[in-house]
């Protein structure tokens, strides 16, 4: 059982000790009205309440971007970090304070471009934490540049005719790199997303949840996503090859848990007893 699961199991408290509202701070989001990130915030707070966590047991770490503002809107511990480096900071938090539940949040630009390398290695390391990426296929905060998940032919003034570059496939990359739980969710389904997030947090090791979160400002056509998404018609598998085949051949709008692996998470806490200082000094003694 991972540290989060242990902490959850050990905590004998009433299931409704905290409500979703407990996890919201007094700071009001400044996202554009209609943005999918509002729903994601709601899902996160619902998931925390569902798991009977407490704000002081939970950390939300983020990078830079619209979605990365999310720690400020929660009452949990928060760290609004450096662009693309949320996973590095979160790994440090989890290693230093393994008893905390660590949720890392960001967008597709932050996570797959600037932070792409951290993403790969966070999957590999399999530290027990949950990474959610609010994917809207665009850099919204900087006014609409194509991101790694943007369709190659998405035509805009900033990329006339489209980038012509193949879109990044985060779920397949996560599977190939060793993430221990992989799911896709949709911001417009806050209750379903909350359940997926709860599963992801409960699952040992590194959990990755891609949340399709429409940008109503720079990608208004993404409003149509709510008509396109549908529950994955498959049961969750622990076979990464099978999961990868599924996500590579699906329509990109399957939502639900797709993969739950059984890799041993990265060990938390000291791996061996610390060497007494006197012993160290003795080694250097003349």
């Amino acid at each position: 059982m991972n540290s989060t699961a242990t902490a959850l199991a050990a905590a004998e408290r009433p299931a409704a000790a905290c409500t979703p509202a407990t996890f919201k701070s007094g700071t009001k989001p400044i996202w554009c009205p209609g943005c999918g990130d509002y729903s994601v915030l709601s899902s996160i707070t619902k998931a925390f309440a569902m798991l009977a966590l407490k704000p002081e047991e939970t950390v939300v770490v983020s990078g830079i971007g619209c979605s990365s503002r999310i720690p400020a809107y929660t009452s949990c511990y928060g760290f609004h970090g450096v662009h693309g480096r949320a996973l590095a900071a979160a790994t440090g938090v989890k290693l230093a304070r393994p008893e905390l539940t660590v949720l890392v949040a960001g967008g597709d630009g932050d996570g797959y471009s600037i932070g792409g390398n951290h993403f790969l290695h966070a999957c590999r390391r399999n530290v027990d934490m949950t990474y959610i990426v609010m994917d809207n296929h665009v850099y919204g905060m900087t006014k609409g540049q194509p991101s790694p998940t943007t369709e190659p032919d998405w035509d805009s003034k900033l990329a006339p005719g489209g980038t012509g570059v193949r879109a990044f496939h985060p779920l397949v990359i996560a599977l190939a790199s060793g993430a221990n739980f992989v799911a896709r969710a949709f911001a417009g389904d806050p209750n379903g997303t909350a359940e997926i997030l709860a599963q992801a947090i409960r699952h040992p090791g590194f959990s990755f949840v891609e949340i399709l979160s429409p940008c109503v400002t720079f990608r208004p056509e993404q409003r149509e996503w709510k008509e396109a998404v549908h529950p994955a018609s498959v049961t969750v598998t622990n076979d990464p090859a099978r999961a990868a085949r599924r996500v590579m051949t699906d329509d990109g709008f399957n939502i639900g848990a797709l993969y739950a692996g059984d890799r041993t998470p990265f060990p938390l806490g000291p791996r061996r007893p610390p060497i007494p200082l006197t012993d160290l000094e003795a080694e250097f003694a003349p």
Partner: protein
């Protein structure tokens, strides 16, 4: 932005608010009529534990005219010509999650369960209206923020009423299993993406109207599917109350100025990519 593109972008966001982000709104603010919500407020639901009771009198007359929903144009801004579902390399199967469907799933066997559904419908609406009010407040759309906050308060009164009538001291959880409503959210909840930073009170009321209509259909379908006469009566009563709310919101809309065609025209739009 070229004139043609600007026109297209403006048209795109008419039927329901869409498409732009916060920015200067001097002109839009001037255009926005005061549009204060009038006296007729939706009444709180009245269903006693165990059996339905009398209806609340309707405070305002229903508007004679049905609000005109403006249609979305067939054309879209050229820069956004591809929708995600047409992305290359993926076979985009047409999916139908019935995102805003309102017909109940299955039958409800007890008054307690029925009222739990009713309570959660209201709780979800309270929370969503509060979120929308906050969003509008942050974007300096004070009229609409105030209106959403008022709606949240009204739905909160419905919550209190149900709690009191059922003798509940704490909110009962929704029964285990699939939600009784198909789609993503409970029927009375306005979708997060159905708003726009320049929307006007009329639009906010139109959103509320849609929610009340969905709630009405939801309870009607519960009544049809009920397996006991008591549940059927109670669900019918709830449906009737929601129908009254529909009329009240329509009456409210009749007192609010209709937005101009260019209500979402922002002289300083954030989307310089258009």
């Amino acid at each position: 932005m070229t004139a043609a593109r600007k026109k297209a972008a403006t048209k795109t966001a008419v039927a329901r608010p869409s498409a732009k982000a916060p920015a200067t709104r001097k002109v839009a603010a001037k255009k926005r009529a005061a549009g204060k919500p009038a006296a007729g407020k939706p009444a709180a639901k009245k269903v006693a534990a165990g059996k339905p009771v009398a209806k609340k009198p309707v405070a305002g007359k229903p508007a004679a005219k049905k609000p005109v929903a403006k249609k979305r144009p067939a054309t879209k801004p050229t820069v956004k010509k591809r929708v995600a579902s047409e992305a290359p390399g993926k076979s985009r199967a047409k999916a139908k999650p019935a995102a805003r469907a309102s017909v109940a799933r299955g039958a409800t066997s007890s008054i307690g369960t029925l009222m739990t559904y009713a309570l959660w419908l209201e709780l979800d609406a309270v929370e969503r209206y509060r979120e929308l009010a906050d969003a509008m407040e942050m974007h300096n759309n004070r009229d609409v923020s105030e209106l959403f906050r008022k709606m949240s308060t009204i739905e909160g009164k419905h919550v209190d009423k149900i709690m009191k009538q059922m003798g509940w001291t704490k909110v009962p959880p929704l029964p285990q299993g699939a939600a009784p409503w198909p789609g993503f959210e409970s029927p009375e909840t306005a979708a997060h993406d159905d708003v726009h930073y320049l929307m006007q009170p009329y639009h906010a009321l139109a959103l509320a109207l849609k929610g009340e209509e969905r709630a009405h259909r939801f309870f009607e379908s519960l009544a049809r599917a009920a397996t006991t006469p008591a549940v059927r009566r109670a669900a019918t009563e709830m449906a009737e109350e929601e129908r009254e709310h529909v009329e009240l919101v329509r009456a409210w809309m009749a007192k609010v100025p209709r937005p101009d065609d260019d209500w979402n025209d922002d002289p300083d739009p954030p989307r310089y990519t258009d």
